[in-house]
Symmetry: D2
Subunit: 295 residues, 4 copies
Amino acid sequence: MTLKCDVQYRRGDTGFKLTRVGVKNVHKPILVKREGANGALNGTLNCKVDISVDLPAEQKGSHLSRNVEVLTAVLVESISKPVSGLENVAADICRKLLEHHEYAITAEVDICAEYFKPSRTPFGRETLESYTLLAKGRVFRGEKVRKTIGVEVIGMTACPCAQQTVTEMLSCGGETPVMSHNQRNVCRTMLTMDEDVDVEADELIDLVEGAFSSPTYELLKRDDEGQVVINAHSSPRFVEDVARNVLKSLVAECKNLPDDVEVYVSSESEESIHKHNAFAERTATMGDVRREAGL
Amino acid sequence: MTLKCDVQYRRGDTGFKLTRVGVKNVHKPILVKREGANGALNGTLNCKVDISVDLPAEQKGSHLSRNVEVLTAVLVESISKPVSGLENVAADICRKLLEHHEYAITAEVDICAEYFKPSRTPFGRETLESYTLLAKGRVFRGEKVRKTIGVEVIGMTACPCAQQTVTEMLSCGGETPVMSHNQRNVCRTMLTMDEDVDVEADELIDLVEGAFSSPTYELLKRDDEGQVVINAHSSPRFVEDVARNVLKSLVAECKNLPDDVEVYVSSESEESIHKHNAFAERTATMGDVRREAGL
Amino acid sequence: MTLKCDVQYRRGDTGFKLTRVGVKNVHKPILVKREGANGALNGTLNCKVDISVDLPAEQKGSHLSRNVEVLTAVLVESISKPVSGLENVAADICRKLLEHHEYAITAEVDICAEYFKPSRTPFGRETLESYTLLAKGRVFRGEKVRKTIGVEVIGMTACPCAQQTVTEMLSCGGETPVMSHNQRNVCRTMLTMDEDVDVEADELIDLVEGAFSSPTYELLKRDDEGQVVINAHSSPRFVEDVARNVLKSLVAECKNLPDDVEVYVSSESEESIHKHNAFAERTATMGDVRREAGL
Amino acid sequence: MTLKCDVQYRRGDTGFKLTRVGVKNVHKPILVKREGANGALNGTLNCKVDISVDLPAEQKGSHLSRNVEVLTAVLVESISKPVSGLENVAADICRKLLEHHEYAITAEVDICAEYFKPSRTPFGRETLESYTLLAKGRVFRGEKVRKTIGVEVIGMTACPCAQQTVTEMLSCGGETPVMSHNQRNVCRTMLTMDEDVDVEADELIDLVEGAFSSPTYELLKRDDEGQVVINAHSSPRFVEDVARNVLKSLVAECKNLPDDVEVYVSSESEESIHKHNAFAERTATMGDVRREAGL
């Protein structure tokens, strides 16, 4: 029996177009390979994927199963020929989406995945830390794909203001850093660029970890724990400082990034002295950021 | 002792401005009163509030405690003089934020709150259903506040395509609607407008509930349960249809809304036949939507 | 037409009984009144309710709509005659469940609700802080209801071990407390007792807040912020200490609680130096706890 | 410098023992190998791990870093010598915890991990579906480890009661199944047993998928979508039926499981006609379940 259900092809009852129609929270493993990256990146990433295209007014429904078909095809290809970076997977899916949805003008893909990377404590002990990789693709029919590479990194901030207040209240201070409140900070950094520009996820993670009062570690023996506390209080940083330090490092370390790369940085501190969080955020282009840095 | 901690006032180390700096997930009760609305709205809403302003490059830190001070002041005022609608609370906080952060050019407030509203089952039994109210305020110094009123409503969709496929596969059909897969759908509708325009949250909820295959109810006796299933299968709707039906009703029922009102509608179905969700989304102005409707 | 659907009454196909069958995440407002409590408690609580009874092997289905009917009846009663405490609401629902499910031997109810309570900062400024109230009811047919009253409170811990390590590493110390890592701690305390025993939620919250290195506050001006940091580092506490301090205070302050009251205390620290949390937990009776305290 | 911080070894201030002290939400990749299982299982699982031991009254703090050390050691071992099943990893960690916490009498480990397994649609098309693996270990010093293997599986239920009600209300019926409400059901099945008993995760997943009205699939072409809807409505099942069908299959298919194996089954339906969920749960031993099945 040939099923010719054409409900989706019917003229829409209402005449309204839709900006995005698709699927959310599709879970799939994707095999990724990246030159020069650590071993952990050359492996399978457990991905959560959102996929969508636009829908013209004259069509009743989007062919949602085609989104999962395209994703599955890319996944199967990745087994024999590992892709270099989730953001390139996202861009690849975007192009294929426009081939399979002949009525669509735009396509969007969002991927996130847990990622493990080796690190070293202050006293040089090896650890394995977890991060979140973020990748996106966006395309308008007839134009080049814009892809996004991003990372979400957990670190630690110690508050400079409370440190100064305590110093005044107790008339203490001197060479030893004074106590302050400190807490987990989650920093998210995303770069959006043309498909032919490349950024390494590992380098982006290192850059973000340098922006905190201190990175954090899953395993700390006594001396390392003490050193992390001392390091954090020697580099007290507001939630604002974390975001600004990321911008500063992007300017200093990513000199080959074109001016039209879009930058998004957010920093959120789970304040130990409050029940609520503090946050800071910047949206800009690399060109804007370089101008503000006086370049 | 007068503490003169001026860390925040220092020139920023990096020279970068920040788009938004503030607090997230502050929980506070706000007393709201609205003429003509049901009794449940004339009461205390448990709100989760995000508040932020921008920060110029030359200032190291934002005065975060002022955000909570402004919120607390508005809350205290609301006890003696209940505000008409959370979106007006958000707009009010926005204005006060610019007064208290003399260095800021923009201010943003996001509020969400659980809300209960009486409803009636198909056979007329009284129920009390829960919804989420969304409210926002956005202001640029020197301009008028733009406020957003939104609702998140849970309903039910039955799939028209699977219904037709089953009809063909089983050569069934006739007067009785044929089985299909059906599921929970979460529809979010938000309208952004000038401060002097008013929309009732209750009317917006009713409008969204009419867009589903059927509303859902916390308490259904046997006949009501059967009727909800019959109603849903008599009005099978794609995830796309829910979003488009909201647009259609906005055009038909909100004739007094100016053309520059921004409209956001999203519809997400927790597909019973998949482990993932399907979604549809539209971003437009009332003017766009009216033109597409042929007005 | 009278619908006599008797599917649920049919003999189960399999012959297996079930421990619990019911509904989860029913959202309803409940009006609560408690003598001597603060004004905020004498009002409407937004509750999330789980309700279940057991099901004998010989019956195919539980009458789930009766659970919501019982809840609605109690809610309606609460409007004219506010109940004293959510745990008494839970106990009341339990009794009514056994009346309406004639085949059931056990009934269980779990309620949680957000709750606001006035507090004062170290320098005496008024604040309004948010907490979670927890309440349960459990009954076996023919026996008395056992009810549970519980609270979830957010506070702050500063680590005593890192503080000592830093003191040694920097050869510092003296009268001023030394820096350490500090973080949010979530402490949950629950007491299960016979229906005729009474405990005030407000007193339980105060008792738990005294167990942290310091309580936390939504609004802190400079001096209060400094004082909270100083207080926390003057009372450094492990995640274990928080749980044990709650037990100690229960022994000291709740002398009228019978020995058969069941005690559950958990403390979870969102470690600022790690990406993971630390936790400590105790399950015991008041009798056990008193014996360990040497009484 | 040798740091001799002995804060944890000090006598507890309060004299109370603690039931569990440890770490939560430690993220680590673990390499697992299992004979006869599908290829996907012979690979790296992204695990979330909770680890704890008890703490005697006379000791102030638990050595929390030892928990992560033991986990890391097991993880490193797994790279050269893959372990057969997460539940055996959990049991292994349990034994090592008692070696490293000389003061502890009990140790507990909880692991959960996302898992992908190939499946086939009704018309035989290949798909890759996602599941959650659950594993636990519990040990008392001097006794054998009890380990738990569990799975969380998403499927679909169609309601038998609404189907009968609609049949009566519309006087329809016949050979074609009548419409009903249907929805996602999440079924969790866990078996707790001695360390030398073995159960395959893949077989447990298949057994649970057979308990729904129909399994669900990430990719369905038209005919498969229609068939899933027809299959589900031909096997309408209450939330209770899913739990009981799992028990029935455990009796029929796991004849070699000892009578003292502890069984936990839960089934939760995200009701399409309500905003709340329905659930059913059973706790028993294999011996109990067999007796109820008449064996």
